[in-house]
């Protein structure tokens, strides 16, 4: 697996040498979605918390950048990004403290409901641009004391920023999962009651995982908003939460490479199915073959795409309660 991973990352690093402008942009977007999906997998795959409202934090990161961007000037990335991380982390702390009182199927529904609450708030709020969303006319500026290490307006630079974020998130989560903290949350996934009996403050560990996942999702949302210079309530939408959960599950839940694989597979599949040149007119209905693909994948590929490459027991959380 490690060989495949390094080969894949190497291919991604060299891609700008050959790739077209369109695919550079698409791949950068996919890498941001992969970061978003990895953060969700920290909850779903490693802590055993199936969240259907993870877009709440993705959207908050995006909207924070929009609010911090002066109309015709660039916001400093060194100022706005930490603020976005802070906002999403605090929001995850508050929402997490509420939703983590529930478990199992309640948790699925309640996380969805909270994301939906933010969605309606964004639609109603004039300051947030209402249902039309809002533009970010100038991308955040990376200048620091007269030195500008990269320019987000440059497509190739943006691509490498996304790649660095992808590798950084992978390394961060890998380190976290190998630490004592990581072992505790894996223990919670396996048997929450036993971890509690062993004296671990289970709630606080779950909350910490929730906050970390929320903050990472916020960074992904921040950069997604920067990439296209646009935010809309759809960032909070349940389609967003749903599709990122699809990436995690179809890619292979409970692994770090699975969500990356899922992000690439699903987005490229969507790109293919909605291609007018291939499907003449039917491309408008691309969600139909996508839906069929998802249904058939559940029935026939229970371990996700990543599971095809992996042998051994299925890496999924046990359901908390039935």
């Amino acid at each position: 697996m490690r060989v495949l991973l390094i080969a894949g990352l190497g291919a991604l690093a060299l891609y700008p040498l050959v790739g077209s402008a369109f695919y550079l942009q698409l791949f950068a977007k996919i890498m941001l979605l992969a970061v978003f999906a990895m953060s969700l997998d920290l909850l779903v795959g490693f802590t055993g918390l199936v969240s259907l409202g993870h877009a709440a934090f993705f959207g908050l990161g995006a909207y924070t950048l929009m609010l911090l961007s002066p109309e015709y000037q660039a916001a400093s990335i060194w100022l706005s990004l930490p603020v976005a991380v802070g906002v999403t982390a605090v929001a995850a702390l508050v929402i997490g403290a509420l939703v983590l009182r529930t478990s199992g199927v309640y948790f699925i529904m309640v996380t969805l409901a909270f994301a939906q609450m933010l969605y309606y708030f964004a639609i109603k709020s004039k300051a947030l641009g209402g249902s039309d969303g809002a533009y970010i006319y100038v991308k955040p500026d990376a200048a620091l004391l007269g030195w500008r290490p990269f320019d987000l307006g440059n497509r190739v630079h943006f691509y490498y920023v996304a790649l660095v974020l992808l590798i950084g998130t992978y390394a961060l989560l890998r380190t976290v999962l190998r630490s004592l903290f990581g072992h505790v949350i894996l223990g919670i996934r396996a048997n929450e009651r036993r971890m509690g009996a062993l004296g671990y403050p289970v709630f606080r560990y779950k909350l910490a995982a929730f906050v970390l996942a929320g903050a990472i999702a916020g960074v992904a949302g921040y950069l997604e908003a920067a990439q296209f210079g646009y935010v809309s309530p759809e960032f909070f939408g349940w389609q967003e939460s749903g599709s990122v959960l699809m990436m995690v599950i179809l890619g292979g839940v409970g692994t770090l490479f699975g969500p990356i694989l899922g992000a690439f597979a699903l987005t490229l599949l969507q790109d293919f199915l909605s291609d007018e040149a291939v499907f003449h007119g039917f491309h408008k209905h691309w969600l139909l073959p996508m839906g069929l693909f998802i249904v058939l994948a559940v029935l026939w590929l229970p371990r996700g795409i990543g599971g095809l490459a992996l042998r051994g027991p299925r890496a999924v959380p046990e359901t908390a309660d039935d």
Binding site: R101, V105, I108, M109, V110, M290, A297, P317
Partner: protein, 289 residues
């Protein structure tokens, strides 16, 4: 809130919305409580009902006839989906259920788009009921909304009767408590599952059909009601019909009064109510912790 009559109208609207929600949420809570399946596509059955009402109206020209034809059709669709897909989900974990039913939403939405198009449609209120009761010189209440509430109450009473007083109801209650035990006692649980699932589909579709004249028929109409139904189920407690009933009325009233009293945060009030209930009773009003 000018006077008593305006207040009365808001109450009636809230109760009517709540009762409609109950038809959708009761199926959702039963399917989860008894079969252990979380069904994201439940809202799509509501949409399916509304579009069935619209298409059948074009054929037969009468809403009641359309509903009469639509219900057996929905039951048939429910049975087919159970046999094709849902039966395979009973022993899977929640993740698979979420994933598969999410895929089903996409499929149903596109099938709707292919068969009925993406336009918003209106359905006429039946002529016999197309009038309003005058309350004051300027205020009136449409009779059709009262009839809607009446239908929903009738269905709720029928459900209560079936669940509390019949042998089938007894099996359903037992199945919600302990599936394995019911099977061990020699009861064909598969048959119970099929009936409960088809009934849930029919209830959601019925809600869509009777709501069509007041709410109109539009793409994506199922998703909104699905999420509100989740809120109802969370407030009432999963698997509890009583909880779904109380939760629906609470949400209906909270939403209606939210629109009137605090329009700038309308749409958020129901979620605030949910958060408050969760703080107080994490397993819902009638749920078991």
């Amino acid at each position: 809130m000018a006077d008593g009559y305006t207040f009365l109208i808001q109450i009636l609207n809230g109760v009517q919305y709540g009762l409609l929600l109950f038809l959708v949420a009761s199926g959702l809570t039963l399917v989860f409580g008894i079969m252990g399946v979380i069904n994201l596509a439940h809202g799509s059955f509501y949409m399916m009902g509304a579009y069935l009402a619209f298409s059948l109206m074009e054929l037969v020209g009468n809403l009641w006839l359309a509903i009469l034809l639509g219900i057996p059709l929905s039951i048939a669709i429910g049975l087919a989906l159970e046999a094709l897909l849902f039966r395979r989900l009973y022993r899977r974990d929640h993740l698979d259920q979420v994933l598969l039913t999410y895929g089903l939403i996409l499929i149903m939405e596109e099938v709707r788009s292919l068969l009925a198009g993406d336009d918003v449609h209106g359905i006429e209120v039946p002529k016999l009921l197309d009038f309003s009761i005058r309350l004051t010189d300027t205020l009136a209440y449409p009779v059709y909304r009262l009839v809607m509430s009446g239908i929903c109450l009738g269905v709720a009473a029928l459900m209560a009767l079936v669940i509390q007083r019949t042998r089938l109801g007894m099996t359903i209650r037992a199945g919600a408590d302990n599936r394995e035990m019911v099977q061990l006692l020699g009861i064909d649980i598969g048959l119970v599952y099929r009936m409960v699932f088809a009934a849930g589909v029919a209830l959601a579709a019925l809600a869509g059909m009777i709501a069509a004249p007041v709410a109109s028929v539009y793409p994506g109409m199922g998703n909104q009601i699905l999420i509100i139904s989740f809120v109802v189920v969370v407030i009432g407690g999963i698997g509890s019909i009583k909880g779904a009933f109380l939760g629906s009325l609470l949400i209906g009233l909270a939403d209606t009064f939210g629109q009137v009293l605090a329009p700038e945060i309308a749409g958020v009030t129901v979620y605030m109510l949910m958060a408050a209930v969760l703080l107080w009773r994490p397993a819902g009003l009638f749920g078991r912790a």
